[in-house]
Amino acid sequence: MSALEVTGLTHRFGRATVLEDVSFHVDAGEIVTLIGPNGAGKTTLLNVVSRALPLQKGSVRIADVDTSRHRQAQVVRAGCLLVPEGRQVFASMSVRDNLVLGMYTCPHSDQDDQLGRVFALFPELEPRSRQLSGTLSGGEQQMLAVGRAMVSSPRIMLLDEPSLGLSPQLVERIMGALSQLRDEGLTIVLVEQNAAAALRLADRGYLISTGRVLAEGPCDVLAEDPLVRRVYLGGAPVRSTDDLPRTAGSVTQQAPISVTDSRRPT
């Protein structure tokens, strides 16, 4: 079953087309990473999927339900939670209040139960539950941002650069936590600049540059792909795949989405 299916998504800011005909899908229990250079449109993509930005063109299905006409709050209720770029915690509120606000859409859930789950995954947050979240370290804020999304028991979590500004050890911590959440049944979309860490964790990946999907495939193959290497190592963003040597291997280059078989069992 598709947990998330995005088809033909196009987004413009004024006259600038930032996303053009972007399609991708995520199966239940999968971790899929979207990688790409600065300005590729990754944040815009997650904002449109979560409806922090309006959906201009294209369709978004969550758990086989068309959400194209949903508002942001309805997408949250449908179980699709964004962990935004730059953490976006409620800075002048305590850690606990942040987590309680995460349960806004499910007021009948057992608060202590849900807080317990967060503190089990991120023990460093527990002694700080009365601290103002704006005074947390960057790593702790990221943990809080993930925790705030966890407490509503979502099916899908969209994470926008959770590793930004964190030390390698902390990146491993966060990635480990994501892996654990996946084992508990969560489906994850992970947007990352840190392609190495993301490709290690994820099952499949999509390469996005200047608003288009340039390649997709299982992570081990994608990691070896010359296009990925060029986008990350080369200076100018790659506009099309035509000027690149064709690669062998099973990376599908901007083509109808292919189902790959490299997923771990779910």
Binding site: A52, Q72, A73, V76, P84, A91, D97, Y104, R148
Partner: protein, 288 residues
């Protein structure tokens, strides 16, 4: 001249200014809009109570004041402010000035320009403390203001809806991310503010006459109260309003009532220049 008498006189009008200031703060924190129709919502609410007082006892009629204020607040949001949401905060603020004129005109149409009063909750002579006298209704008003203040604090800190409104004030983007509908919270803020100012102004109506034309003056003084609260803290806005009330009654007793408004507005100018953060200790942060 008796300072204590001035304090007693200034308290009743000051509490109304303060609560109008609270209304400004509640709406501004959650939506970013400065609602200049606040004073006319208050007056309309008071007239709602005047109308209801024909049928029910005065202490019940003030709830009609809250209902009228709240309904008008909601109508103001849905009919004028919300349709302009894509136009920016300045346009939304200006439309509240226009709405104020509309509300005032309708009240004038219904009640004319002559002053109205309703009976105090409890009859009897004014209370006397030495040579200071205080209307019994002022005690009711102060009690109502205190209870409202405590209820509001409880609402914003303890209830999920109240916390969600605070969350919109702190970080509107993040509020959307956790599934809070900012539009609905804005509507609640307008309704709540209208109800509060309607209730308080109706409760003061037995002390001072209400006339249909005083809305703008009330809004200006409530605005000063809100500035004193840094446009952020409801407790300080309430205190700021009481302070404005004191300044007015001092001016009236030492100089002349005719100079009240000049002095108070000069105070506003000085305040805006000297202490843009009002009584708060932190600097007002720029809102995106």
């Amino acid at each position: 001249m008796n300072v204590f008498q001035d304090l007693a006189t200034g308290l009743s009008v000051g509490l109304v200014y303060g609560m109008i200031g609270v209304g400004f703060v509640v709406i501004h924190r959650i939506t970013g809009v400065v609602n200049f129709a606040q004073g006319d919502l208050a007056v309309a609410g008071a007239f709602g109570a005047v109308w209801a007082a024909e049928l029910v006892p005065p202490e019940v009629s003030v709830f009609a004041g809250a209902a009228v204020g709240g309904l008008l607040g909601a109508a103001l949001y849905w009919c004028a402010v919300h349709p302009l949401r894509s136009q920016g905060l300045l346009v939304q603020t200006i439309v509240t000035l226009g709405a104020a004129v509309v509300i005032r005109s309708v009240v004038q149409l219904l009640f004319g320009t002559k002053p109205y009063a309703i009976l105090p909750f409890t009859g009897g002579d004014p209370l006397r403390f030495g040579d200071v006298s205080m209307q019994r209704q002022t005690v009711w008003l102060a009690a109502a203001a205190l209870v409202l203040y405590l209820l509001l604090t409880w609402f914003f800190e303890r209830t999920m809806t109240g916390r969600a409104m605070s969350a919109c004030a702190v970080n509107r983007y993040a509020a959307g991310v956790v599934g809070i509908n900012a539009t609905r919270m804005a509507a609640v803020a307008f309704t709540l503010s209208g109800a509060i100012v309607g209730f308080v102004t109706a409760t003061q109506a037995p002390i001072a006459f209400v006339t249909s034309g005083v809305g703008l003056a009330l809004a200006l003084k409530g605005f000063i109260a809100a500035v004193l609260g840094g446009f952020d803290r409801i407790g300080l806005a309430l205190a700021g309003g009481v302070l404005v009330g004191f300044v007015e009654s001092f001016t009236a007793s030492t100089i002349s009532a005719a100079y009240q408004d000049v002095i108070v507005l000069t105070l506003l100018l000085v305040l805006l220049v000297a202490r843009p953060a009002g009584l708060t200790r932190v600097k007002v942060s720029q809102r995106a």
